[in-house]
């Protein structure tokens, strides 16, 4: 097993007691990337030279006894939706191909402050729109467990990078499940924080009221460690909440006393893959065995969540993506006659099909005469969904469910059927609409070896309890210790 496939907490330990150096670790990750990323497709940009320099500098500082940040020397991969001033940022789109931003996202600054080694930018569905990373303009990402299956999305690159041992930690973003679902498909831990927990400054916006940045790791402790670095108030984001960041990692060993787990019968109905159902039920049994109380709850409006999401998110996206007009940065076509044609031809040429579909959906929903029926109605439904959860969390600490109806799907399986693709988001979307934290943790494998995740949701700003509940399951299982084999053909 290569060094960088160890959990982050173990690596931090080895770095601090001198068993290994950041340069050794970084080289090991780069070597894995060289060997396997041709098949996996996790990275859009590998920052080999600057990563080595950063690693050497941290090693020197460590040798000199200087104080170091909490992630000192640990390679971290960053989803290409966060702007970085020394690495290109494309959002998986031809529109931004070749663009290097003049500034760092708040979360990237936090990583640098923590002395993380930024090893590269990871692949994603174009502008984070998609559930398979097949909407990347630069090719798909495959799950390292089965190379003919997708890594999930939109943060497929970050999930696959951690799973494949290209980096012990990675950062993603989640608008409707884009951290949790690829975590499930790649067999790693992925956490979407409460809305406002992590600053969105420098996160290229898809749907502003739903987007949130969060961690990927091999285990719950790694996710807690990275979340502690990413979270916190930022004056540059008006929706960032000024609340202290608890020491998530410190309490993990402590089980949640009298843990109450809610399950919603609707989540176990038609369309759920039997192997996924089995994995979730097995996880619930584990919790019962630990003394948890599992009870049924009602989320009466959750059946409207997909419809609600696909009005709110595209509406905001149509506005957020209007700035890509070929005037100030990004791609501008030479093929135009006049300003209006320059706009339409540049956007027509540089955006992919799914992005165009969502821009059209959102533009329509916000148009005069339709606004009340669509956007405004969706916002009302959203409030009802939020109320469902507040009521549910009066009785339970976490809500358990599948992450996705199936394990990782084959490449191309859903691309021709956008509606099926949208429906596959049903389990994850509500957390974004309600602003709640959610985590996906490894909970088993299908018979043919594809990972299956368990989703736990908690009340807003109770990530500490959510992580403790997740750690309870992890201590009883060893799914998270399994290593992908890069099986199958990268067709």
């Amino acid at each position: 097993m290569t060094a960088c496939r160890e959990p982050a907490s173990v690596l931090i330990e080895r770095l601090s007691n001198g068993e290994t150096t950041s340069l050794e670790l970084t080289e090991a990750c780069l070597a894995e990337i060289t060997s396997h990323d041709g098949a996996v497709g996790a990275f859009l940009h590998v920052a080999g030279d600057s990563a080595r320099q950063a690693a050497e500098s941290i090693d020197r500082r460590r040798a000199a006894g200087e104080p170091l940040g909490r992630l000192a020397g640990l390679p971290v991969a960053v989803k290409d939706v966060l702007v970085t001033r020394d690495q290109p940022t494309t959002c998986g789109s031809r529109m931004l191909e070749g663009w290097t931003p003049p500034y760092d996202a708040h979360t990237v600054e936090k990583l640098r402050d923590a002395d993380a080694v930024l090893i590269g930018k990871t692949n994603m569905d174009e502008f984070a729109m998609g559930s398979t990373t097949e909407n990347s303009a630069f090719g798909p990402t495959r799950t390292p467990w089965q190379l003919d299956c997708v890594a999930g999305g939109s943060s497929g690159g970050s999930a696959a990078a951690v799973s494949a041992g290209f980096a012990p930690l990675a950062v993603g973003s989640d608008t409707g499940g884009s951290i949790r679902q690829p975590a499930s498909f790649c067999g790693v831990v992925g956490l979407k924080p409460s809305y406002g927990r992590v600053s969105r400054y420098g996160l290229v916006a898809y749907a502003s009221s739903l987007d949130q940045v969060g961690p990927f790791a091999r285990d719950v402790a790694g996710a807690a460690m990275l979340l502690e670095v990413l979270a916190g108030h930022d004056r540059r984001d008006g929706t960032s909440v000024d609340q202290p960041v608890p020491p998530y990692g410190q309490q993990l060993e402590k089980p949640v006393d009298g843990l109450r787990i809610g399950i919603c019968p609707d989540h176990f109905g038609d369309g759920l893959d039997p192997e996924v159902r089995e994995a979730v039920e097995r996880a619930l049994d584990i919790y019962r065995g630990l003394g948890a109380d599992v009870q049924e709850i009602e989320l009466p409006h959750s059946r409207f969540a997909v419809a609600c999401y696909y009005l709110v998110a595209p509406s905001e996206a149509s506005s957020n993506l209007a700035r890509y007009d070929g005037i100030h940065y990004g791609r501008r076509t030479d093929d135009h006659d006049g300003l209006v044609e320059m706009y339409s031809n540049s956007r027509g040429a540089a955006f992919g099909t799914e992005v165009k579909r969502r821009i059209m959906l959102g533009t329509y929903a916000l148009s005069a005469g339709y606004y009340d029926a669509y956007y405004l109605k969706a916002q009302k439904v959203r409030r009802l969904i939020q109320q469902d959860y507040s009521q549910a969390f009066a009785d339970v600490d976490v809500i358990a469910s599948p992450v996705a109806p199936t394990p990782a799907v084959r490449l191309g399986q859903l691309t021709d059927d956008p509606l099926q693709m949208y429906l596959a988001d049903a389990y994850t979307i509500s957390a974004n609409l309600a602003g709640l934290p959610g985590v996906s943790i490894p909970a088993g494998f299908s018979q043919d070896g594809r990972p299956i995740g368990l989703q736990l949701l908690a009340n807003a700003f109770t990530e500490d309890r959510l992580l403790r509940a997740a750690a309870m399951h992890e201590r009883e299982t060893d799914w998270h210790l399994a290593t992908p084999t890069f099986a199958g053909d990268a067709c």
């Binding site: 966060l82 702007v83 940022t89 959002c91 931004l96 931003p101 003049p102 500034y103 996202a105 969105r200 400054y201 420098g202 996160l203 290229v204 916006a205 749907a207 502003s208 009221s209 004056r235 540059r236 984001d237 008006g238 929706t239 509406s315 905001e316 149509s318 506005s319 209007a322 700035r323 007009d325 005037i327 100030h328 940065y329 300003l339 209006v340 706009y343 533009t363 916000l366 148009s367 005069a368 606004y371 956007y375």
Partner: protein, 499 residues
């Protein structure tokens, strides 16, 4: 046929005088010479950048709303107004749609009517909202088809939009309304309202209500005249547009093929309005609440703090100068309209010397003349209010003649009288030139007797009824006695010659 009624509503844009832009820390400063230097990821609209509301912009906005007698909303929010234009880097403007921070309000404006009478006009407001300004497109004007350029220094400047009801009834009234808004905003310290720099701009909506031959009342299609950036421009464009609409009405007999609102530009050089864009380009702005900015609620307490920061508005001040200080409406207007600092200066002089009318005469004539000649503002005027008040006090008490007072004033303006305070310099100038009024009537009478005896011919002429002859005698006395009061000299001479 009754004469047409003019219906005008104005949308006035006022750039706020904040140190930084509305959503970022970039300097808010007019700077056309160095394009794109006052920019950052936020006002450039770069991917990932987010807006954060400038607290000072909210304060100034609410003060403006209160001064316009508007109702401050308990809850207000910002919306995205979406359209594509190169000077708008996010392709949406953050503005306010259905919950502006201020609704209603009004402004009373004194307008001189055609018959010369002054009429007070009550112009109601629809709303006031706070938005961001766009950048500026710079087109190649050489005609050689060069590239257009975009300067985003202005992008993100906080901008108030003050929308009036269509209560304005003439071009002159529109101009007065705009002048009064400008004065109020400058008084409040909300804006410098520098029209050359574009910190006060205006769009005018205008149409006419005319009776046709069948005596039916017809409204001409509304025209929005865009980008009026001078007082003269507003008035001239509206005068032109009113007569254009009237001509058009006469030509078509009030039957219009297209009654949709039209947008026209103002060509100041040619003095005409011109059609700008057709309705086929009419936009659907797809307004929706900006998810990056939380709604803002103002507490009553906070609103009262802002109200306490308000100064006396110009209209109230004019009224007070007339009612309490006994000034003419004209003088009150000159002093107040000149700006808050000038009116403050006048009031300080009037209070200190106790003679408001004399203070008004001196400030409106002598002081403003000097300022105009020197092209300076009152803040840099070399004679402070205490100094001028002490000079005027000496005239009122008879220690100095008005003529000598003017001499002292101009000496002060020429930096004479040493290095002391103005009061000390006045004393030294009076001393040096012997300008002190001669109070000792005995001394004056001796001189007068001597002058009469030296000028027998003139004295004889005056005794014989030639009034003009006294002038030579007065002149000679005045030359001998510096600082003599010419009226006293005249009276003494008359009592001697025509007892």
């Amino acid at each position: 046929m009754p004469s047409p009624t003019t219906i005008i509503g104005l949308e006035v844009h006022v750039q706020l005088q904040t140190r930084t832009k509305i959503f970022c820390g970039c300097a808010n400063r007019f700077n056309p010479d160095e394009p794109n230097v006052q920019t950052c990821p936020v006002c450039l609209g770069l991917p990932g950048a987010l807006p954060v509301m400038n607290r000072r912009a909210l304060e100034l906005s609410v003060r403006a709303g209160l001064a316009l007698s508007g109702t401050i909303a308990g809850l207000t929010k910002w919306d995205r107004k979406q359209y594509y234009y190169p000077d708008l880097p996010k392709a949406y403007q953050i503005s306010q749609y259905d919950l502006p921070f201020c609704q209603g309000g009004h402004l009373d404006v004194d307008v001189e009517q055609e018959n010369g009478e002054i009429q007070s006009r009550h112009i109601r407001l629809i709303r006031v909202h706070l938005e961001e300004d766009a950048g500026k497109n710079l087109h190649d004007e050489s005609g050689r088809g060069g590239d257009s350029r975009v300067d985003l220094n202005r992008a993100g400047t906080p901008l108030l939009e003050i929308v009036s009801e269509p209560d304005i009834r003439s071009a002159a009234e529109a101009r007065r309304y705009l002048e009064e808004i400008r004065l109020l905003m400058v008084y409040l310290g909300v804006s410098d309202c520098n029209m050359q720099e574009g910190s006060l701009r205006c769009d005018a909506n205008v149409n006419l209500e005319i009776s046709n031959s069948a005596n039916e009342s017809i409204r001409t299609p509304i025209v929005e005249v865009k980008n009026l950036n001078s007082f003269r421009g507003v008035e001239a464009a509206l005068v032109y547009e009113i007569s254009r609409q009237q001509r058009e009405f006469e030509q078509c007999g009030g039957i219009y093929a297209d009654t949709a609102k039209q947008t026209r530009g103002w060509d100041a050089d040619r003095g005409v309005t011109f059609a700008q864009r057709g309705k086929e380009e009419a936009s659907d702005y797809r307004y929706f609440p900006d998810p990056d900015l939380l709604p803002v609620s103002f507490s009553d307490e906070w609103i009262e703090i802002q109200r306490a920061e308000l100064c006396e508005p110009p209209a109230d001040r004019r009224r007070r100068f007339v009612a309490e200080l006994g000034l003419s409406e004209y003088d009150a207007g000159v002093l107040v309209d000149r700006g808050r600092e000038t009116a403050d200066y006048f009031e300080a002089v009037a209070t200190a010397c106790g003679d408001a009318k004399q203070a008004a005469n001196w400030v409106t004539q002598d002081v403003l003349r000097e300022l105009n000649e020197r092209e300076e503002t009152i803040e840099s005027f070399p004679i402070d209010a205490q100094g001028l008040a002490s000079l005027l006090g000496m005239i009122t008490s008879g220690d100095l003649t008005t003529r000598s007072g003017r001499e002292v004033f101009s000496s002060l303006m020429n930096n004479q009288g040493g290095d002391g305070s103005i009061v000390e310099r006045i004393a030294s100038i009076v001393e040096e030139r012997g300008l002190s009024a001669v109070a000792d009537s005995g001394a004056l009478e001796t001189v007068i007797d001597a002058v009469i005896s030296r000028n027998e011919k003139a004295a004889e002429d005056f005794r014989g009824g030639k009034d003009a002859a006294i002038g030579k005698l007065i002149g000679e006395v005045m030359r001998e006695v510096g600082g003599a009061d010419p009226n006293a000299v005249r009276e003494t001479l008359i009592s001697r010659l025509r007892p």
